[in-house]
Amino acid sequence: MAEFKEISPNASAGAKLTNWFENRFPTAFDAYRVHMSEYYAPKNFNFWYIFGSLALLVLVIQIVTGIFLVMHYKPDAAKAFESVEYIMRDVPWGWLIRYMHSTGASAFFVVVYLHMFRGLLYGSYRKPRELVWIFGCAIFLALMAEAFMGYLLPWGQMSYWGAQVIVNLFAAIPLVGPDLALLIRGDYVVSDATLNRFFSFHVIAVPLVLLGLVVAHLLALHDVGSNNPDGVEIKKGPKGNRWSPNAPADGIPFHPYYSVHDIFGVCVFLMVFSAVVFFAPEAGGYFLEYNNFIPADPMVTPAHIAPVWYFTPFYSMLRAITAEMMYALVACVVLAAAFGVFKARMPVLFKGIVAVAAAVVVALMLAIDAKFWGVVVMGGAVIILFFLPWLDNSPVKSIRYRPSWHKYVYAVFVVNFVILAYLGVQPPSPVGERVSQVGTLLYFGFFLLMPWWSAKGETKPVPDRVTYKAH
């Protein structure tokens, strides 16, 4: 227990009150110091470092608007669509709350994609921040589940058929798949039972998991300290700054320096956010799809169905896996195994294991439908992110000190991701299919070949201290 602090009787009433609380609840005061006033973040953050705080802001917006929406929404297949229209037309200001929530969902993904890209640019997932990254990937996964289940709730055509497709993905798993899909739906088709359980998951279960993961993400971050655009460890640098002799010399207190910095970012974000909410809440059919303004009809799939934009890169990869594409993937596995057996330096036993494993994988790839492998590829595209800390072999963290051509690799990756996203909203076409197949190979190539390409090329000298110009 902390020492009981006596305060001078002449102190101001405010100081006395603070002291009264600090003696009775020191944990709160310690937490404030550890995470705010004495959390020393590198002083060279740039605008890329705004998106973490913004993600937290969007989470708060989603929780608050969600609480108010639940007061008027009815999770019943017969009433759900109506109740959303009721919120939009009859509940005073209901339209604003609903549009904030629907725009918030897209904003969440915009902010999180940028936040993740920042991590990629500056190697923020590298040692000792592997767990920060893994918690972050888990947040991304939970967010996808949250968004997907939330999208069923308005019970429009897109809600219904989107859920139908995604739940059927699970049915593609050999042996247990069909029963698993039945367990998820709670019925033989997407129905009232499905709507009710998705509602429960969307408003209680997943948000709780999400909050827990956010806490873990932040605690782990504050334990190891933030990375920065130079990828230099400020904790390894000289000690002592204006606030503390033990703090890293290149660190500044999060509050007030970065809290003020973030408030500026919040203002800019809110301007854009409000512009969308008030002037383009449907965002041309990208944030709220037009087909979702038609009530769910289990008898007819709309002529063109596509997921909301933030899922489309992964959806494109799912669509890319056809029986033909399987031959290309088999060829990749064979090539990789041949490389391992003939080129890599490792014991004969390992080579044997690699050859046998490759043979088994190829046999499975030929034996099981392309449909299942499509699901594996789509899931793998997200899961592979978790392994990023161990795929990157570059001697330096930040893109600033990597070989210049690495920038082109990242550029290709980003452009490819955007093309996949674009193809995912388009109706299927033979050309689109080919392009998305190449895109899928590029996406996985970026990660799976990273151990090699990231180690290649000549790095630039990394400075001992962060680069910073006072302004």
């Binding site: 129905s191 799912l318 033909e324 076409s429």
Partner: protein, 199 residues
């Protein structure tokens, strides 16, 4: 750590208690997970549906709901029927040999996949991921379809194409043909979907 020697009997009991607790925990999870299963009410709602097809003209389709799924009843024109055999080479499973128990009952395991050649009864759900394919009866080139299209169905979700007998084309996401539900004729124009005359 302390230097006190480990009391192995205490440790054994701790492990035993922990295991007993874990068994209890798993047992408690069973009722919770079980609630995810379809309810008795959902299981009961699988009755057969009777349809009168006397009003159906060649080239028309009727859709009825059976077990929550759309079932199509299509009266094919003689031209559509005549085109079927020529497509065999382009199809993934022209003779409906894949998983016949799930997708094609014995009485529909023929070139037109139906009891009466002109009347196709099929579940209008793509075996890929469960969307309902759209009708594309008009032959000829059109978006998302090949130039030598003879008429059939296109799944709007992932682009699987089916011919007028619900047979899937090669190299499409759907591995299987459209499911033919169990069905039988009660009279010349009355169909029962969901039951058949199993020998």
């Amino acid at each position: 750590m302390s230097d006190t020697p480990i009391d192995s009997s205490k440790r054994t009991w701790l492990i035993a208690t922990g295991c007993a607790g874990a068994v209890g925990g798993v047992a408690t999870a069973v009722p919770f997970v079980s609630t995810f299963q379809p309810s008795e009410k959902a299981k009961a709602a699988g009755a057969a549906v009777e349809v009168d097809i006397s009003q159906l003209k060649p080239g028309e389709r009727a859709i009825v709901e059976w077990r929550g799924k759309p079932v199509w009843i299509i009266k094919r024109t003689p031209e559509q029927l005549a085109d079927l055999p020529a497509l065999d080479a382009q199809l993934a499973d022209p003779k409906s040999e894949r998983k016949p128990d799930e997708f094609t009952p014995a009485y529909a395991r023929n070139g037109h996949r139906s009891i009466k050649p002109e009347v196709l009864v099929a579940v209008g759900i793509c075996p890929h991921l469960g969307c309902s394919p759209s009708e594309k009866y008009t032959p000829g080139p059109q978006p998302s379809l090949p130039d030598d299209w003879k008429g059939g169905f296109l799944c709007p979700c992932h682009g699987s194409t089916f011919d007028m007998a619900g047979r899937v084309f090669k190299n499409k996401p759907s591995p299987d043909n459209l499911e033919i539900p169990p069905h039988m004729y009660l009279s010349d124009t009355r169909l029962l979907i969901g039951e058949d005359k199993k020998a």
